[in-house]
């Protein structure tokens, strides 16, 4: 049975009366009455794995909440959601603009700018995640939007306000996250979204169903900064990538492109290709004869994907769970980075039972819903898509080339021939999005695995720590920014608070080079010793022997240290450039 709105509300009530420990406190403030969103946002956060509370600030105190958030909520929120509508800034000005008064628009934009200032102030004064809405087009029930009286004026106003707001506050990679209320209202249907009765009764503008959609969307925005996005989607072929079974129906009998349902399968492939362009890896796991499958890729006119889009493929008769393990190994990523799509409930159940870390999506009964399946899953939502993300797929292809080279040459000659170039520098503003991303997703080569938000990293720097970033390239390509170290260099001895490397560059001596450069900085600053810690996790075994392997000795309190001149030299085959 589908979840009705009232079952969601009851579930939230049950959760509240259960009084379990709450680890994620969300504060909501709005320019209107917003209380109905609470159960939907709360349950969506529950589904995303949070243990949430949701608290609503007194209505219509958006500015006040921005300037003194601590007084608006009973406890310090971990996330603050700010919802506002243009018409709530000034109904009169919106009306004047709609009716043709050109003097109104600058005044409205001034009010939007002042709200943007308040949000910027809030962002600087709180460690909480801040989420601000893109406001919907204004809707005043009494105001004519007739084609004859005010053609397009409200649309123009909306466009100008959204332009200003996104430029000032809701930039794609900025520290304030965006919740697109305008899109929710649009998807729901403007007329159905607005509930006049509730507006005039409670100053609560929206229909119950709109709040359900808004709550889910806000939860996705919040989860995107905290739950790491999946890195690879593995799809079955028959009745998933295309309609029909290639082994039975033959090439000519498959449905790909053309009319229904082939067009839906082709659009599903387009959705995969769009993810691939954002850096998500694609792979197939199919129970078939390999020749049959690749013949489809090569010869079927309707195919959108080509074999070159695939980073890995396992076509054979093994259990799907085995195939997925092989793909994860081959791509050097964790099973918890995989999403598996298959039409067979049996295959889904087998994978789910054997590999619970893998997210499984079953092809919907309604094939028209297949093209939106991956998008609506939210599994690939990402906090800030970085330049490295965009290039990840290309880098994996370069990696295949490197490995092919490695097999023909000896290991040392191979490393020497790579022509590796490492650049270490204090991280600047332009590196911060990638630095925070690495801090929050690097599992394997990570000495301390301390996760930190954008704001927390900035706070450390303000507190006298230094964040170092390392980029790596070789003759096959550019890896981008792949190493981060946070150094507490306030005392005479330096301490490595964070030291991590993306697993893409492990085992080539760059970790030794990175430590060597930092030890060099420490020496230059007059430090005598370098301290470090290793905090074991379920996944960071690859980093376990790094400290003893680099001349470090244990201290009585469980930490490690080395004299700055005792750090092993930077490998000769690496060309190092160090700045700052």
């Amino acid at each position: 049975m589908p979840q009705t709105l009232s079952t969601v509300r009851l579930r939230w009530k049950a959760w509240l009366s259960d009084s379990p420990p709450r680890t994620f406190c969300v504060g909501v403030a709005a320019s209107f009455t917003v209380d109905p969103v609470v159960p939907y946002l709360g349950c969506a956060l529950l589904d995303a794995g949070f243990s949430p509370t949701v608290e609503v600030a007194p209505a219509e105190q958006l500015h006040h909440v921005c300037t003194s958030p601590q007084t608006a909520f009973s406890r310090q929120p971990d996330a603050l959601i700010l919802l506002w509508r243009i018409e709530d800034l000034s109904e009169t000005l919106v009306a004047r603009h709609a009716e043709g008064d050109d003097a109104a628009l600058p005044l409205i934009l001034e009010a939007v700018g002042s709200l943007a200032d308040a949000v910027s102030h809030l962002r600087r004064s709180t460690a909480a995640i801040v989420v601000a809405t893109i406001p919907p087009a204004p809707c005043l029930p009494w105001l004519s939007t007739s084609d004859l009286i005010a053609p397009g004026r409200l649309a123009t106003l909306h466009r100008k306000v959204v332009e200003l707001w996104t430029e000032r506050v809701a930039t794609p990679r900025g520290p304030v996250k965006t919740f697109d209320l305008a899109a929710v209202v649009h998807d729901f249907g403007g007329k159905a979204a607005f509930d006049r009765r509730k507006w005039y009764l409670y100053r609560q503008p929206y229909a119950e169903g709109l709040w359900a959609a808004a709550g889910r969307r806000i939860a996705r925005v919040l989860a995107s900064g905290i739950v790491p996005p999946r890195k690879c989607v593995v799809v079955d072929c028959d009745n998933t990538l295309w309609g029909g079974i290639v082994g039975e129906d033959g090439l000519a009998g498959l449905q790909i492109g053309g009319s229904f349902p082939g067009n839906a399968y082709a659009d599903f492939q387009r959705s995969l290709l769009a993810l691939n362009r954002r850096g998500v890896l694609l792979a197939i796991a199919s129970k078939n004869n390999p020749d049959d499958v690749f013949e489809v890729f090569e010869r079927h006119d309707g195919m959108v994907l080509s074999a070159s889009n695939l980073s890995a493929h396992v076509v054979g008769w093994e259990a799907k769970s085995r195939s997925l393990q092989a793909i994860a190994r081959q791509l050097n990523i964790g099973l918890d980075s995989l999403v598996f799509v298959d039409d067979s409930p049996h295959e889904i159940a087998e994978v789910h039972a054997a590999l619970p870390e893998v997210a499984c999506l079953q092809v919907p009964e309604e094939i028209a819903d297949l093209p939106a399946l991956l998008l609506e899953s939210g599994l690939f939502d990402t906090a800030a898509s970085t330049a490295e993300d965009d290039r990840r797929a290309a880098m994996i292809a370069e990696e295949q080339l490197r490995k092919a080279n490695c097999e023909t040459e000896g290991k040392d000659r191979y490393l020497a021939n790579l022509g590796m170039r490492v650049h270490v520098m204090p991280a600047g503003q332009e590196h911060l999005a990638r630095v925070v991303q690495l801090i929050n997703k690097t599992n394997q080569f990570n000495l301390t695995t301390i996760r930190r938000s954008h704001e927390e990293v900035e706070a450390l720097v303000a507190n006298g720590h230094t964040v170092y970033a390392m980029t790596v390239r070789d003759r096959f390509g550019d890896y981008g920014l792949v190493g981060v170290a946070i150094v507490d260099n306030r005392a005479n001895d330096w301490r490595l608070d964070t030291f991590l490397l993306s697993c893409r560059v492990l085992g080539r001596g760059v970790e030794t080079a990175f430590l060597g450069v930092i030890a060099g900085y420490a020496r230059a600053a007059g430090a005598e010793r370098l301290h470090a810690d290793f905090v074991p996790t379920a996944k960071n075994a690859p980093a376990a022997s790094f400290l003893p392997d680099h001349g470090m000795s244990p201290t009585p309190d469980g930490g490690w240290f080395v004299r700055c001149d005792g750090v092993p030299p930077i490998p000769e085959f690496i060309d190092v450039e160090a700045a700052g």
Partner: protein, 78 residues
């Protein structure tokens, strides 16, 4: 089996059904505040597949009156 209207009120107000009757109103039911009214309207509209007017919402000052409003809208078995 609990009366369906009492059940909706109990769920929305977070009160045991045994504590509610047709005489229950905001005056004698502590949790029946303006916030609860928003939830009640949504609960009643969804449960009985009807739409309440602002006049209906303003009128429903007790469960008994709510029952009359629903009967007036042709809802059977309330």
């Amino acid at each position: 089996m609990t009366d369906p209207l009492i059940k909706v009120f109990a769920e929305c107000l977070n009160i045991d059904p045994s504590q509610l009757s047709d005489d229950s109103s905001p005056d004698n039911t502590p949790l029946w505040d303006s916030l609860a009214v928003m939830t009640l309207v949504a609960g009643i509209e969804e449960t009985f597949s009807i739409s309440l007017s602002t006049r209906d919402i303003m009128t429903m000052r007790s469960i008994g009156i709510a029952r009359q409003v629903l009967r007036g809208k042709g809802v059977a078995d309330v």
